[in-house]
């Protein structure tokens, strides 16, 4: 498969066999009574990565973060930071800082005092503290708000204070728990890029916990998709989207069509899958699918072309009926019902003002796609 690297193509330490992970979870399990929040999880995060833990609520991502910060102790397993085992080290002694979802700003202290708090605990001389605080205020553009108290600030301003406070000590690792959750949509987009810039400029390792796929896909170098305390896949956003390793991951991020069937033959990296209706498709990216196996071909809606007549040069084509149309302005999403009852989602950009081949409900239509437009999933 062609390499699907991060947007920063040159930065891929996970591919480098020489690189040692900066943060390492080794067979970490966390149980609360009968409930297992994290289940024998192993994960490596490299220095200067912008890493995202993505999953639905209850999947264990926050618990994992809190174990790294020191607020929970693993029931079993080890957590290593820069080669050092963190067991027995309380949170106030770890070179890790956290930005809390609720910001957790000290309500009785000014913005300045909030930012200076961590520096004071380290016994930094007053002059140096003042310097660093001024630097941080400049970084988040809150210089005029230095003397204000948290309740005198707006939500976005509070978030920036929380950010400044958490990087004031120049930690090697910054943990962010749903950092954009409390912001409105517009602010969220702007802040996403700000965070990415900040991470690059300061050269820190960021570990972000989020349930918002867009957030993870936009900001992260690599994403770990979690479900029920386990990691389902760790990969770059492009890999996760284009080459999901399981049905769960394919379904989790974006929309996906699962064309079910059985492998009838395999030739190198290509397989022929026969669907329930008897239709056959010939696809690549077969993974470990063997003849006779029940598989699903996962293909994204934008990779499927919809035409009113059978396309002449398509490798895979199937006929169906236009079941539903969603006109979204910038694109149109067609729901095409195939012969065996399966409904396939296909989206098309409206790149021309007037469509040359307008389809409407109940029309006969053909869907087609290239052999390498998706991946074969066995799990």
């Amino acid at each position: 498969m062609k390499s699907l690297g991060s947007i920063r193509r040159s930065f891929a330490p996970w591919n480098d066999p020489q690189a040692r992970p900066y943060i390492s979870f080794q067979n970490v399990t966390k149980r609360f009574g009968d409930f297992t929040a994290v289940n024998d999880l192993s994960l490596d995060i490299y220095e200067r990565e912008f890493f995202a833990l993505l999953g639905a609520s209850g999947c264990g991502k926050s618990t994992l973060l809190r174990m790294l910060a020191g607020f929970e102790t693993p029931t079993s397993g080890r957590i290593l930071l820069d080669g050092q085992d963190l067991a027995g080290i309380p949170p106030y002694k770890r070179p890790v800082n956290m930005m809390f979802q609720s910001y957790a700003l000290f309500p009785h202290m000014t913005v300045e005092a909030n930012i200076a708090f961590g520096l004071k605990q380290d016994g930094m001389p007053k002059a140096q503290i003042a310097e660093r605080v001024a630097e941080m205020l400049k970084l988040v553009r809150l210089e005029q708000f230095a003397k204000r108290k948290p309740h005198q600030l707006s939500g976005g301003q509070r978030q920036r204070v929380a950010l400044a406070r958490s990087v004031a000590k120049r930690p090697k690792v910054l943990l962010l728990d749903e950092p954009l959750g409390a912001l409105d949509k517009k602010l969220r987009e702007a802040t996403q890029f700000e965070l990415m810039d900040l991470q690059q400029d300061l050269g820190l390792t960021f570990v972000v916990v989020t349930h918002d796929q867009e957030e993870a896909m936009t900001m992260a170098d690599r994403i770990a998709i979690m479900d029920k305390g386990k990691v389902m896949q760790v990969a770059t956003p492009a890999e996760i989207y284009e080459a999901p390793s399981s049905r769960f991951v394919a379904d989790f991020v974006g929309s996906v069509n699962m064309l079910e069937g059985t492998v009838t033959s395999r030739n190198g990296n290509s397989v022929v899958i026969k669907g329930n209706s008897g239709a056959q498709i010939s696809v690549e990216n077969a993974g470990d699918a063997a003849p006779g196996a029940d598989v699903a071909f996962a293909i994204r809606p934008e990779k499927i072309r919809v035409t009113s007549k059978r396309p002449e040069t398509a490798a895979n084509a199937m006929e169906g009926e236009v079941w539903d149309i969603a006109y979204l302005g910038d694109m149109t999403v067609y729901h095409i019902k195939l012969g065996d009852g399966q409904v396939v989602k296909a989206s098309a950009l409206n790149s021309a003002r007037v469509s040359e081949d307008p389809l409407t409900w109940s029309d006969r239509a053909w869907i087609s796609f290239a052999p390498d437009a998706g991946v074969v999933l066995t799990r």
């Binding site: 910060a69 020191g70 607020f71 106030y92 002694k93 979802q101 000290f106 708090f117 961590g118 380290d122």
Partner: protein, 273 residues
Amino acid sequence: MQGKLSRFNITALVLGFAFLYLPIVLLVIYSFNDSKLVTVWGGFSTRWYASLLSNHLLLDAAWVTARVAFISATVATVLGTLAALALVRYTRFRGRFLFSGMVFAPLVMPEVITGLSLLLLFVAVGLDRGFLTIVLAHITFTMCFVAVVVQSRLMSFDRSLEEAAMDLGATPFRTFIHVTLPVILPAVVSGWMLAFTLSLDDLVIASFTSGPGATTLPMRIYSQVRLGVTPEINAVCTLLIGVVTIGVLAAAIVNKRRDIQRQRDEQAAAQAN
């Protein structure tokens, strides 16, 4: 959800508050009664307040009461806050059930039992009864009220503030001093005020545990009341009520001002963005 109150509700409130305040109002009015008899209004006069000033018994008792209340309230606040912390933060420790029982029991325990038991303790240990024993007794029964007030505040306290402090390098002790305590301070202060009032007001326990030279104001008032109702008592009571009312009103006004200012700040911040 709420709007105008129904007539029934308003009546209930008015009658209830009348019931609560009428005796107090009457007491205050009759402290200015020139006549010694409660039944006859002799004209407005402040002579009972004047004679108070020369009533050494009452004044001494008031001084004792004030000192006892101040010291016991302060110690009780410390102990009560610790007890509240123990109950809220440590969900499991050996003897927690017993501890929790001991903290809440004095809230409902009849004072005669508390008083008697403490007195017997002091006698058994050989501790002379006097100022110290009243203080010890008052600390014991008021700390539980402080614990209840502080505990209630701690339960609604945002733990992520403490986690943030520890994350930034503060030890649990430093976290408590610099973050937790400042935020729960209003509750601690009202706990102190509650303990102070309870001590100021206590008759039964003080009667059991006091000794020569340590007569409290309630004890003095009680012994005088048994002899007969004098308007001087009315004057003392009015003064006490006045002091407490002013204190509570002042606290309430300060709080209200702070709340209004806070609301204004939040609105300004929201609009500015």
